[in-house]
């Protein structure tokens, strides 16, 4: 088993990166690998509850976020600095996440086999 870490760095909807990262996370989980799913920079916007993207022709991926646990993806993190800078707290989020510091994220990256930033 390898440790695959995913860094979700882009806002939802403006680009397809958020969905592309989620699809990779789910594919990795199907292969029963150890997955870390980390939201940082504008990626933390992906976690905000209440998305309603019908008006811009996009798909709501919040349901898929809630299914992460079913796929065995338990290690979901958000970078504390990214949250703070955007005035976000856990109360704004669709799913519970663990907050991590930049140093903790650095150590998590170091300890991974493959790191993918999208």
């Amino acid at each position: 088993m390898k440790t695959l870490t995913f860094l979700a760095r882009q806002a939802p909807f403006g680009s397809s990166s958020a969905k592309a990262c989620l699809d990779m996370v789910l594919a990795s989980a199907v292969f029963e690998q150890q997955v870390n799913y980390v939201f940082l920079d504008d990626g933390v916007w992906q976690l905000v509850r209440g998305h309603a993207p019908d008006g811009i022709g996009a798909k709501n991926t919040l349901a898929a976020l809630q299914a992460l646990e079913l796929y065995g993806v338990d290690n979901v993190y958000a970078l504390d600095e990214s949250m703070t800078e955007r005035q976000l707290t856990q109360a704004h989020l669709q799913i519970p996440v663990r907050l991590c510091t930049p140093a903790e994220l650095g150590a998590m990256i170091n300890a991974s086999d493959v790191v993918t930033a999208l």
Partner: protein, 130 residues
């Protein structure tokens, strides 16, 4: 007013082609006319007839193609951008000896002059960009 629109972003990975479509619909709904929609750079991929969209997602290429035909809009795909990205009408496919053409209904392939012409003949020009 007479409005022209330019789109430059990649349809499958950026929001701009969707935004441009909503803008054009609102412009027509508000009583304006659209002189031309010009697709440049990666936005020419909107003209591909070969895209297949998952059933639970919106098919933006089909939506644009239908919108253009329904309102009989002048929709131009930039030829230089299109060739580099593998979007060909029947004429280009023959000219470059390619085995297939893939330009969807409603679009024309033409040059940058069509965009300059749109600037000269429109009251307003709006870009939706990468």
């Amino acid at each position: 007013m007479i409005i022209s629109v330019m789109v430059t972003g990649t349809p499958a990975s950026q929001q701009s082609a969707q935004s441009a479509l909503s803008f054009c619909a609102a412009a027509l709904g508000d009583g304006h006319s659209i002189y031309r929609v010009f697709f440049y750079e990666d936005a020419v991929l909107i003209g591909s007839s070969l895209t297949v969209t998952p059933q639970d997602e919106r098919n933006l290429n089909a939506a644009w193609s239908e919108f253009i035909q329904q309102h009989q809009l002048d929709a131009v795909i930039c030829v230089a951008s299109a060739l580099k990205r593998g979007i060909l009408d029947a004429g280009e496919a023959v000219r470059y000896q390619k085995p297939a053409a893939n330009l969807a209904a409603g679009f024309d392939i033409s040059g940058l002059g069509q965009w300059v012409d749109a600037c000269l003949n429109s009251d307003r020009v709006v870009s939706f960009g990468a």
